[in-house]
Amino acid sequence: MREQGRHYRAALALVPVLAATTVAGADAGDDGRYGLGHAAAPAHIAAQDIAIAPNGAELPPGGGDARTGAAVYAARCAACHGSSGREGPDPVLVGGQGTLASDAPLQTIGSYWPYATTVFDYVRRAMPFTAPGSLTPDEVYAVTAFLLHANGIIEADTVLDRETLPAVVMPNRDGFVPDPRPDLP
């Protein structure tokens, strides 16, 4: 990184020269860079690095179980998603397993979502709708546990944290196929 940083500063010094040239292909420096932008502070990156991939690498410290999650759900989620997650009016979160190939498929967290990490990621960034980003990591772990338990995927006393959440295997984990389009005769 020290070596790269030196090149970066060297590229910055080239900018006035580059701005004066109009030769096509010669607009970037010898290393193909323009010397624009500024180094991102690690703390600034960490504060924004909230996306949780299936390996769970970016999961924060903390944890929670379904029992704690039931209270969070009742207070922050049930008004839109129903008291048990099955009633709606907004997206049904619970149930539907075994229906995807039927005439009335019900796509829920339990029946459709392939990764448990997605629940944590989405709830933390976008829910509750009226106050997105307002839940603590413990609350997000807990409400995730509540929803997975309601779907019969984990036990009531399973504590979800940065170790256990990525290990959860969702029922529809292998339900997705690559896009084959064009797919028509």
Binding site: Y34, P54, F129
Partner: protein, 402 residues
């Protein structure tokens, strides 16, 4: 009518022709006020359309007005460029109010140098611009099971076309030093949903734009001001608006918007993921439902065609319910991944009939019928509907979705 009399007349009857003049015109048409007799409005700093022009986006009714869509009134538009104020919207957490001076784009993850960019810095990268359509993957979702939308705004209004300008995403990523194992780029918006989609790195290095301008001026707030992605040919939601962060990774993130949503459920219960491309599609915008009933005689059929895979090469139109098809004229320049205007002269004989268009693109793909789509994808697909759109012209000249 002499000038003195004329002035007198218009002072007394500014808005509607009555009496003698009405009789001369054979009805109660609005009068043309003589605008040559007074000074008009002064120059203005930022223009507005005529007070007589009232077309607007149609907003999907929702309990959540910040997480809905608005649809472009395609039937009333000409050419291929959609006015910025009428570009369709699809928001997941409302339109944020972002100060461009405070906004930063962070690029990190599998890069040698994580960097942050101001808007001014992004503007210093070499310019790229193109006219390109953007279409929501849910455009036409009501049409899967049969005629759904009441008019072309409700059947096809989630596509719009603009001239976009900005920096090449590839240039900005190279600036950060792409690590050899990077395969995906996560894009995150600064809206209330912190909207995220992941994009294959190959696409990012091909033709993706970090857009800061639309139709010559700064992006509209509802189009991502001050910075958005523009991912040509891909479903609209991946062109993340209010872009604040890009993270390079070795695998897809499987965000909610690429698993729970924007996947295509098939009859066997499996679902397609990463179905990005918007395939070839067309629609007749005139005549179409909602206008005044047709009268027999000459009408120029007009419509739009587009393909996320490249140029439209041919549009065929039927005016006899599919028994015969004629090639429509394509109005150039015909650009890749761009709305293309087509027209065909038509004399309506007053008999009920059905009209429709189907387009071909440069890959050889031909727009399918609803029946063919459903035979392959079943009855529970929601996204990526691109079936041939048929309009019924009734004997009384009314046009409806059929």
């Amino acid at each position: 009518m002499g000038s003195i009399n004329r002035r007198h007349f218009f002072r007394r009857a500014q808005h509607f022709v009555t009496g003698l003049a009405g009789g001369m015109l054979g009805g109660t048409l609005p009068s043309a006020a003589d605008t040559t007799l007074v000074q008009g409005a002064p120059a203005s700093g930022y223009g507005a359309r005529s007070r007589f022009e009232t077309i607007k986006r149609w907003i999907t009714p929702s309990r959540y007005p910040t997480a809905t869509a608005s649809w472009t009134p395609l039937a009333e538009l000409e050419g291929v460029v959609t006015p910025s104020a009428l570009h369709y919207e699809r928001h997941h957490g409302g339109v944020p109010d972002i100060d461009p001076q405070a906004h930063r784009l962070l690029v990190h993850g599998r890069v040698a140098r994580p960097l942050e960019f101001t808007l001014d810095e992004l503007r210093r990268f070499p310019l790229v611009q193109r006219v390109c359509f953007l279409e929501c993957s849910g455009n036409g979702y009501r049409e899967w099971s049969g005629p759904g939308g009441a008019d072309v705004q409700q059947t096809h209004g989630l596509t719009s076309c603009s001239e976009w300008a900005g920096a090449r995403l590839a240039d900005v990523l190279h600036e950060c030093g792409i690590e050899p194992d990077a395969r995906w780029v996560l894009a995150e918006g600064a809206d209330g949903a912190a909207m995220t989609r992941a994009i294959p790195l190959d696409k990012c290095l091909d033709d993706v734009i970090l857009a800061y301008a639309q139709n010559g001026e700064a992006l509209r707030p509802e189009q991502g001001y001050p910075l958005r992605l523009l991912v040509p040919g891909f479903e609209g939601s991946i062109s993340v608006k209010w872009l604040r962060r890009l993270k390079l990774g070795t695998q897809a993130w499987r965000t909610r918007e690429e698993t729970s949503k924007y996947t295509d459920l098939l009859p066997d219960g499996s679902a397609r993921e990463f179905s990005f491309v918007m395939e070839a599609k067309s629609v007749i915008t005139r005549p179409s439902p909602g206008g005044a009933p047709l009268t027999s005689g000459f009408h120029e059929i007009r419509g739009l065609a587009w393909s996320g895979r490249g140029r439209v090469t041919r549009v065929e139109v039927t005016t006899d319910g599919g028994r015969s098809w004629q090639d429509a004229r394509l109005h150039g320049p015909v650009l890749p991944i761009c709305h293309t205007r087509f027209t065909l002269p038509w004399r309506w004989d007053g008999a009920a009939t059905r009209i429709a268009s189907r387009c071909h693109d440069e890959t050889g793909y031909v727009q399918p019928t609803r029946e063919v789509l459903r035979a392959v994808r079943g009855d529970h697909s929601f996204y990526h509907y691109n079936g041939i759109q048929c309009w019924q012209v009734d004997g009384d000249g009314r046009v409806r979705n059929a």
